[in-house]
Amino acid sequence: MVELIEMILLPIVVLFLAAGVFFMLAGAIGLLRLPDFYTRLHATGKCDTLGEVLIIFGLLIYHVYYYSPGAELSVQLVPVKLLFLICFIFFANPTATHAIMKAAYNTGVKPWKKGDRRM
C-alpha cells in the first residue's frame, strides 16, 4: 500500500516541479528575448506566477505525504504556510507587475510597436 502511494505520488510531485521549472525558464528567456519593457513584463508577470505556484504546490503534496503523522505541531502546520504563500503570490505578483507598468507608462516610456528597433 505504502509503495503504491509512493509510486503514484512521487511522480506527481516531480511533474509539478518540472512544470514549474519549465515555466520559470520560459519567463527568464522571455525577459532576455522580448524587445521592450512592457512585453518583458508579460513574460515575467504570468510565467513566474504560475511557475512558483506549481513548485510550491508540488512541495505541499510532498509534505502532506511525508511529514504529517507523528510530527510536531509546528511541522504539521507547514502546509498552511505554503497555502498562504500560494494565495499571496497570486495576489501580489500581478499587483507588483501592474505597479511597475503604471509607473513606466505615466512617466512616458513608449511602448514598442511592430517594426521598431529593439530597446
Binding site: L32, D48, F88, A99
Partner: protein, 95 residues
C-alpha cells in the same frame, strides 16, 4: 518508480535550475537599458528567491525557512510597490 531517497537530488536539481533563471534575470538587472527594466528584474529575482527558500527548507529539513520565505514575500512585494511609486512621483508618501 522514484525512490524516496532520490527526492533530495530532485530538489537540488530544481534549486539549481532556479539559480540558472536567477542568473538570466541578473543580466537584465545589471545591463537593462533603463531603470524600469532593472526594477522589474529585481522583482523577478525576489519572487524566485521565495521558492528557493522553500526548497532550501526541504533540502536541509529546517522548517524555519518557510517563515523566512513568507517574510521575504511580504518584504519583496512592499519594496517593489514603494520603488514603483517613488519612480512615478518622485516621493513615496504623497502628502
Amino acid at each position: 518508480m522514484i525512490e524516496p531517497e532520490a527526492m533530495l537530488t530532485i530538489f537540488m536539481a530544481t534549486a539549481l535550475l532556479i539559480v540558472v533563471t536567477i542568473i538570466l534575470a541578473l543580466y537584465r538587472a545589471t545591463l537593462g537599458p533603463e531603470v524600469y527594466n532593472r526594477v522589474a528584474a529585481v522583482n523577478v529575482i525576489g519572487t524566485k528567491t521565495i521558492v528557493l527558500l522553500v526548497l532550501i527548507g526541504y533540502i536541509f529539513e529546517r522548517p524555519l525557512f518557510f517563515d523566512i520565505s513568507l517574510l521575504y514575500a511580504l518584504l519583496n512585494f512592499i519594496g517593489t510597490l514603494a520603488f514603483a511609486k517613488y519612480l512615478e512621483r518622485g516621493e513615496v508618501w504623497s502628502s
